[in-house]
């Protein structure tokens, strides 16, 4: 208990002192403008919008992991997936988005868990289009799934991340399900002597 409290203070410290900050509404509105643009470009084909958001998130994740390693005080590799989950929720989300989603619903093999978002800054000011489809098809914050997928891939974990409920769809919680597919073996680049 004591150690976990100390580490929580650590993340708070990183967030307060090491991260440059901007007004949250600038980020939120920019994200909203982006999603709106995608809905327009893909002619409200929300399945494609989800895919594109995931792809953009993936690109972000590939680069974000370095930022994460540099800013957070985590020098050692996570010894198991449970530890990885803790670091994602308590350090990753904290220092970039200043939220700490709850980790829950572990499967018994320890390879799948859920992140439940009590707060989702991206969803502020948002209401999905009332076209009878958006609430069933669009995962508004899907970019976050891509970010996790990209970032974890860079540290040798292949995961699948997807939202299973969203307050914007009328659900009572916003929940993301993350499954570990495999650990990627270190592969030497070809012809690297």
């Amino acid at each position: 208990m004591a150690s976990s409290k100390a580490s929580r203070l650590g993340e708070e410290y990183v967030w307060r002192t090491r991260m440059d900050k901007v007004n949250a509404e600038l980020v939120v509105l920019t994200y909203g403008a982006m999603v709106a643009q995608l809905c327009k470009d893909f002619d409200s084909d929300y399945v494609k919008v989800n895919q594109q958001l995931d792809k953009m998130g993936y690109n972000i994740g590939l680069r974000l992991i370095e930022d994460y390693l540099a800013k957070s005080n985590t020098f050692k590799r996570c010894s198991n997936f449970r530890e990885t989950a803790e670091m994602i929720a308590k350090v990753g989300f904290k220092i970039f988005l200043n939220i700490t989603p709850t980790i829950t619903n572990w499967t018994s093999d320890g390879k799948q868990f859920s992140l439940v978002f009590d707060e989702n800054p991206f969803a502020d000011f948002v209401e999905l289009p009332d076209d009878g489809r958006a609430q069933d098809e669009l995962w508004y914050s899907n970019i976050l799934c891509g970010v996790l997928r990209g970032a974890l891939e860079m540290v040798q974990m292949q995961v699948e991340a997807k939202f299973v409920s969203d307050v914007l769809r009328g659900n009572d919680t916003t929940e993301m399900r993350i499954s570990l597919i495999r650990y990627i073996d270190d592969e030497l680049p070809p012809e690297d002597d």
Partner: protein, 218 residues
Amino acid sequence: MAHLGPGKTASSKEQTGLRYPSNGKTIYHRPLNRTKTAELSQSSFAYLFSEMVTYAQRRVTGIQELEKRLNVQGHPIGLKLLDLLLMREPPRTQTRPLTIIALLHFIKINLWTHLFGRQADRLEKSSNPDTPDEYMIVDNEPVVNAYISVPREMSQLNCAAFVAGIIEGVCDGAMFPARVTAHSVGGKEEGEMWPGKTVFLVKFQPEILEREALLGKS
């Protein structure tokens, strides 16, 4: 035919039927000022913005078109911020800006402070007598460009076109229709104090100046 009635009501229900969570986390239940002073990391903005620019870049053929696209994406944000920021003002200063100068001050002070945590650096009127409809808002170091390096062959590009779009949205929303563009004016020599200096050129439509002149006389 008998089943048509109930079927019809069901479909009309769907048309107006957004579902809402029972815990009240909706835009209607939450105070509008809840996130007024909330902060997020600048990295999260930088990542998003860079993806936005990269995505836009793949769908255009030239720099002008890219800037136009960024501008268009900023526009609705400006429209909404005008209302949001005025609503948050104390009641006696809640009126919409009614003159060009009041509007530009609103942008330089309120809009900038809200979005970027500081005022814009300067406000200028065009000194050229041929273009009395042009005003300039100067930002020495735009936040949005902080992590963007423009390749040499695209040196014309200024991604703050997105912010220009926001400004344009504010102007249009306040009934001062204008075209706003972003231009890099920072010198490229070494030792230059503000290499990223950007001028937002606000060009009002002619009828705005006519209206302003009429109002000034009365």
